[in-house]
Symmetry: C2
Subunit: 318 residues, 2 copies
């Protein structure tokens, strides 16, 4: 495996974290960075919560509850019960251990430490060696435009269980957001690849790519631009991506994911069940790679990461 | 039992809360208010913690851990373990359930709600009908002057386990503090009594009485001013009061507690074991009442509360 430059993985939560975990088993921490979506971040009970960063950190630290995909294993929920007794908001699940992350983060941010630095410090404390960089240090707030009106992302996603019909998206603060230093450092050199994890294109990846000029910068800095489709056999493995696509009048297919990233990606990794879409995707000018993309076991995650790296090298002409 | 006007109980944490609990069994909630010391309040991990208010609320809600005297029974400590894993500060014990109180309070204060209102709201949510009023809504920070230098109260009390030798006290913000509205409402009418709970005179009661003009206002508004000695047989039932007295060169006796409140109180309730100090106290112009003051059982608490009320009526000439 060659390594001229690094790979930058754009990631949302659960699906992205799985691929990143696989990647951490085959690449050295110096060979890649992870840029995490922060459009899902919100302040809840006065605490700054960064769900995608936390899922990445907990997954890489081996602490994630694998059944749920988010939060900590062996978690307890006594805080939340006490909040209920006090008449507080309990729709967002905050475990007792998980709370330490939010309290420490909030304290540091309030003291003027950047989200990048806080993330570095807290992930290092948990033994995570992978460089997890928030897309921006300033606040970007994803709003879901639905037939129930505009909903803050976590209200749509957690409180309302993705039930409202999606009509569009708004990313408040995105126009003024600047890429975090770690992203800029990555883009300052010619790098091996941009790898878009199998995360939700609309609410996990688009906020990152929507940071002014960032998409163009990635195109310039990365030899290869590759995506992994989060849509497999017409459904999303996790989350509302497929539901959103159909509500937006887009067929929920790997082909449409490829089309979504048209002009950015050179190739896309799709699942074996979507093999018949390969030629369609190819006709868009995007090179498909067909493999097993569903990541149930650690071997699945390593397998997909290996496929991605090999395909990156193939697309680079190596 | 007569009831022209109310009783105002000045209270610190554990000892005061026990007397207040006893009082709640013999008086109607409309017949008394509790003014809680907030000099121990501090911001820890970004959370506003009000230890004395919490001990009062938890005690009155029947939720306190009776063995410890503070915090919640059936508490879990998973948050604190996770904070330790993140490299955070763990010297102050924050239980998982207890945390809900601090998070909700901090959120409300940040939204501009006063400490009085927050206290009212959160104690009501837990079914507490007694009016618990913080001494002031603005911040007062007790500093302990020791041979190890100046220590924030909780650093002295919890982190350093009261080990440093005490030389004096400083109450930052006290000169600018104004009594909370609930205290002013109490003092706007002629009231039955001021009752100083068996709390630490230096760090629990003095901050309250040190609010500009408050001591004089209580003298004017209350028919009777009574204290209960926290010193029994030369020791403090709970906390560093006796240790502080000897370090300050004051004999740790009920007599000296009486002398501490000279000019304010008409009478003092002392324990049977200190019966031989009665005449000494009387010679100060303060009328002693000898009874059992150690509150182990609920009956003890009710007994002491009853003695206080009867002695208040006696001192009022009824």
């Amino acid at each position: 495996m060659t390594s001229d430059g690094k790979v930058c993985i754009l990631s949302g939560g659960v699906g992205g974290a799985k691929l990143v975990l696989g990647m951490s088993e085959i690449l050295d921490p110096k060979e890649f960075i992870v840029v995490a979506n922060t459009g899902d971040d919100f302040v809840h009970l006065g605490l700054h919560i960064s769900p995608d960063i936390d899922t990445l950190v907990y997954t890489l630290a081996g602490m994630v509850d694998e059944k749920r995909g988010w939060g900590l294993k062996d978690e307890s929920w006594n805080f939340l019960g006490a909040v209920r007794d006090l008449g507080g908001e309990t729709w967002f699940n905050l475990g007792d251990k998980d709370l330490a992350m939010h309290v420490e983060r909030t304290k540091e941010l309030k003291a003027g430490v950047s989200l990048s630095q806080v993330t570095k410090k807290l992930s290092a404390a948990l033994g995570v060696k992978i460089d997890i960089v928030p897309m921006a240090d300033s606040s970007v707030a994803t709003t879901i435009l639905t037939d129930d009106g505009s909903l803050a992302f976590q209200h749509y996603f957690v409180r309302d269980k993705c039930n409202p019909k999606v009509k569009g998206f708004k990313f408040e603060g995105l126009d003024k957001a600047r890429p975090a230093d770690g992203v800029n450092r990555f883009n300052a050199e010619k790098q091996r690849a941009l790898l878009i994890a199998p995360s939700n294109p609309f609410v996990s990846i688009d906020p990152i790519l929507g940071i002014p000029k960032l998409r163009e910068t990635f195109i310039g800095s990365c030899h290869v631009k590759l995506a992994v489709s989060p849509i497999v056999g017409g459904i999303a493995i996790k989350g509302p991506a497929a539901k959103m696509m159909s509500e937006l009048g887009i067929p929920s297919t790997a082909t449409e994911v490829a089309r979504h990233y048209l002009g950015l990606i050179d190739g896309i990794v799709i699942d074996e069940v979507d093999r018949d879409q390969a030629s369609q995707i190819e006709s868009l000018g995007i090179k498909p790679f067909v493999t097993k993309t569903v990541m149930s076991t650690l071997d699945d995650k390593i397998g997909l990461a290996t496929d991605c790296i090999e395909y990156i090298d193939y697309l680079a002409g190596k």
